[in-house]
Assembly symmetry: C2
Homo-oligomer: 356 residues x 2
């Protein structure tokens, strides 16, 4: 498909819409599965990226031990969809309604949840629910997660309260920056080993040391038992610019129409409400175009992307182009469905908006 | 409601969720309606902010002449919902499927669409559809919209092709910056008057000179016949920081739970997937807290907001706080429903995701 031609598919939805290339998706799933096998670690992909039951099953079929999710809402969707092993990698605060929802998920699947405080464990006790727990530790991203050495205290408290403690997890979010992918992976392993020692020191077995992130996965250091990358399944402009995927691997794009040439500009009808507005300080713009490596989205509003075209002939008014969003997780969360390229299939984004 | 107490409503959805204060909404609707009356201009609020049929009707009841929308999808929802006067303030590229959809909207409502090229007019002719048109001109935001002096050429072309030309419109998006609200409003009036002269010079009447934007509305200069602000209905952190609303006027918040105190931080369960990730270079952070003016969201990921608390006691784990998003249009587009504060009502976000 060339953006120079006026392409418009009667069967396709109006632009902007989300398009996935299943060949590239499957290649990405296989590559990461092979990578985890080569490291001798379990793969538990983060399903918050795709929010799709079908894609979760494809990841399991390629060898994933289970899925990671971020919310009880996502856990509900994937358990209902047949996934029998779920880790909610988030320091949930489980009040009474959430406890009831989680109990129903636990009827269908093996479930572990993240904890980073004794208070959150006590709250689960108060509501009579005891999923397995994994202690969240901070490996340098400074978000949720206790200092690694403090994992033992929470683990002991949880064990005494009747929980099975699976181990420790961390998200090395500081791998999302140029030149820090490898060092963040080292921080990750170091934090997990320290946490593991702290948990062992209170006489508990540590089955799992779980790390995350697509940018750090390539550099995962010895000590991890599990990887939780998410974005790799599609790739996005951030990953291209971080060097963790190539443009030709990007499997999800937003199809957009050129709606204006005013002032010599190129304006697309895909704005922040379709692409998401995520932009890291080091990003080259608000997104890239799959087939025009020089083009940059230099401004983004709700329904407009302003493209600086670079070299080459700019596309005609009314032609369609494939936009690579900066952060694909945000894009998927905005879409009701994926259009499967080269087919008439449209797949529902099963867990769209299930963020609570 | 105090964030210090552990509040949790059995009837409320799990956090994060969107809450609206109808008293504040109605006050904002009335204030802007009064403002437009005092200027002697028509008010045509942009419904992309609220995407709610009920709120559109409230704006009409307060005197709005019609609604503005951004997409054919939004026009479908509001026409179906009973709004009989719609302006799609966007340079639509109307292919065959969109022409059929627009024709159905035109069966229910008086409809005008934006145009900024003769090609887009020719495309409508090719598909046999002739809504009223309004020429989009650039008043300094440099997005879509031709130079004001070029409006006559497109207007004449459209008139010759059988379209009723209503006039000209612009979006002074450069009003979204500190200290430029007033100057952007002057640019807006200047561009509209130039466009109006250009359209008159090709022997067409100009019924409408339509300007936009909540930040510029206060400074709207003589020459406009119509205002199209959107955000004013709820307000948001951007408007507070631009000075176009006060924190005590903000009518929409995202209710979030404090889930982590790790490392002395305050982490909320509302991230970019609930708040939206919009952040202007001049914003003080990724959002504000309604009841804690000193607090700032200093980092945002998909499901976490990291709050720098400032002075005062930080809220307990498990307590709920009201987050004021940076850009409320993005927030609403992520939500399936509004929870109406002080009632058991939940209102659907009727046009959520209708961005095509």
């Amino acid at each position: 498909m060339s953006g120079h031609a006026k392409t418009s598919f009667e069967d396709a939805p109006a632009t902007p819409y989300v398009r996935i290339d299943l060949g590239r998706v499957d290649a990405a799933i296989d590559r990461m599965a092979d990578h985890a096998r080569s490291l001798g670690v379990a793969l538990r992909p983060h399903a918050k990226t795709h929010k799709s039951i079908r894609l979760g099953h494809r990841q399991r079929a390629a060898g994933a031990v289970g899925l990671t999710v971020a919310t009880v809402g996502e856990a509900e969707v994937f358990a209902e969809g047949g996934c029998d092993d779920l880790f909610i990698a988030y320091p949930l605060w489980i009040d009474a309604p959430k406890a009831r929802r989680l109990a129903r998920v636990m009827d269908r699947a093996r479930v572990a949840v993240g904890v980073d405080s004794v208070e959150s464990v006590a709250e689960m006790v108060a509501h009579g629910i005891r999923p397995e727990v994994v202690i969240e530790v901070d490996s340098g991203h400074h978000r949720s997660g206790v200092a690694p050495g403090a994992a033992g205290t929470i683990a002991r408290y949880a064990a005494d309260a009747g929980f099975r403690v699976r181990g420790a997890f961390t998200f090395p979010g500081h791998s999302y920056a140029p030149q820090t992918r490898a060092s963040a992976a080292v921080d990750e392993a170091s934090a997990l080993l320290t946490a593991s020692d702290a948990i062992a020191a209170v006489d508990l077995d540590v089955a799992v040391r779980s790390g995350g992130s697509t940018p750090s996965a390539e550099f995962a250091a010895p000590g991890l038992t599990e990887l939780r990358p998410g974005v790799y399944v599609f790739g996005d402009a951030q990953q291209v610019e971080l060097g963790s995927c190539q443009m030709e691997d990007v499997a999800l794009t937003v199809v957009a129409t050129v709606v204006s040439h005013a002032g010599g500009r190129v304006i697309l009808d895909a704005g922040g409400k379709a692409l998401g507005a995520d932009r890291a300080p080091w990003s080259s713009g608000h997104g890239r175009l799959l087939e025009w490596p020089d083009a940059r989205i230099v401004a983004l509003s709700e329904h407009h992307a302003t493209v600086e075209w670079g070299t080459g002939e700019r596309p005609q008014l009314g032609s369609q182009v494939l936009v690579v969003p900066n952060h694909v997780c945000a894009t998927v969360n905005l879409a009701d469905s994926f259009v499967v390229a080269g087919s008439s299939e449209r797949w529902q984004v099963d867990a769209r908006g299930k963020n609570a």
